[in-house]
């Protein structure tokens, strides 16, 4: 096997890595945002429950959670390892994203909510038009960090047999006896994915930045 087809084989796992990330990251964002809003604005019971969710999820190694969730998810509905793994990863990241969004909501000054209510907005309108637009801007830098973690953690679905980058690197390293080359190629692809993602989010953050005098 020549080097080109070797690299091509590993790189063809990239589609899986990207797909897993593109499912896990947004679903984690939706769940995380809803839970963060519930935690900040909900009643005492909801506050406790969402805090408990976050504490447990973040207190376990992602790979352990992934296995547990995988068996729950694939046990209750008939899903391929790819879908079950992606959804499970989404649940893992939702807790981290919840904390990121919660932190951002809390750092939007409490006065903003009061000012919104003072002109007659209800709570939902205030959240939608005043709190969330400011939250998004504050959340991008820490969220960029979490996006990088999810890209890297997508390699965990390897353990479920999804043929993503790491899985392919492992297979080809075994068949060619070239582990260094195989894993270096995998590392390079992960690095490029993370680098491009972080740079794009940096650019987005700059574009959304609210103009102010120095």
């Amino acid at each position: 096997m020549d080097v080109a087809s070797f690299l091509k084989y590993i790189a063809s796992g990239t589609a899986y890595t990207i797909a897993v990330t593109l499912i896990a990251l947004p679903s984690g964002l939706v769940i995380g945002t809803l839970f963060a809003l519930a935690n900040v604005y909900g009643g005492k019971v909801i506050q406790r429950l969402t805090a408990l969710y976050s504490t447990i999820m973040r207190g376990l190694p992602p790979i352990v959670l992934l296995f547990i969730l995988y068996f729950i998810v694939s046990g209750s509905i008939n899903l391929s390892p790819f879908w079950a793994g992606s959804i499970s990863l989404g649940i893992v990241t939702s807790a981290y994203q919840m904390e990121i969004i919660r932190g951002a909501i809390l750092s939007v000054s409490g006065g903003q909510m009061m000012a919104a209510r003072a002109i007659g907005m209800n709570k939902i309108q205030a959240i939608r038009y005043i709190i969330l637009p400011q939250t998004v801007r504050l959340a991008i830098p820490p969220w960029s960090n979490e996006a990088a973690i999810v890209i890297k953690d997508s390699s965990l679905v390897y353990a479920l047999g999804v043929p993503e980058i790491l899985r392919r690197a492992q297979l080809i390293s075994a068949s060619t006896q070239e582990p260094f080359l195989a894993f270096t190629a995998a590392a390079l692809i992960y690095f490029i994915l993370v680098f491009v993602t972080n740079r794009s989010l940096d650019a987005l953050e700059r574009r959304l930045r609210i103009p102010a005098n120095p």
Partner: protein
Amino acid sequence: MSKPILTIKNLTKKYGENVVFHDINLSVNEGDTIVIIGPSGTGKSTLLRCINLLTRSDAGEIWLDDKEITCKECDEDKVRQHIGMVFQNFLLFNHLTALENVRLGLTRVKHMNPADAQLKAMQELERVGLLDRAGHYPGQLSGGQQQRVAIARALAMDPRVMLFDEPTSALDPELIGEVLEVMRKLALEGMTMLVVTHEMGFAREVADRIVFLEKGSVVEEGSPNDLFYHPKNERTREFLWKITELYGKKDTEQGNG
């Protein structure tokens, strides 16, 4: 004879054991400017927040235009549309331009069509002399300009009453004048206003009535002339003396400038 637009009856507010104020009575006539003065921690801000229902009072009633607004079934969001509030620290929406700040309530709360809302927002900015800053974000405006936009934002809702909570306390001395100027103009135009302030020059000149609040109750109220020159209560006299000592110098400087 003007009729009361806002009536506060036996209003009481507690935070746990801490009684912030107790049995407050106050009646505000249409077009009047009432200035509320008093030491810090006395419950002035809490009183204003109770009036526009940002905080729930524990007992007593508030009436706006012959309707009780403190009833259980009252629609708080509806009531707040009719009561404008200006805060000490401006609280403009940071992610919106001056124009968008003023326009948002019109489109989202009053459901005005976009073109009308735009026009009205521009008129309100013009009213506070900031039409040329319409596209600026709060972070690009001086404190005085931010406060004037905040006033325009409240005015845009066509409130029956405007509440001001120490609107100039967070401003550098040289920026206080422009905000007081806008408020003076509003008072002349007949806006009903409740103003918490330490600006005694403004109080003397613009107030129809001054209310001295201390430790959660009204110690004395009357015309500026009564309170400044013939205070009935020793505490009123002491407080006014102290506050004039503190802020008086600035006052006269502005008067000259």
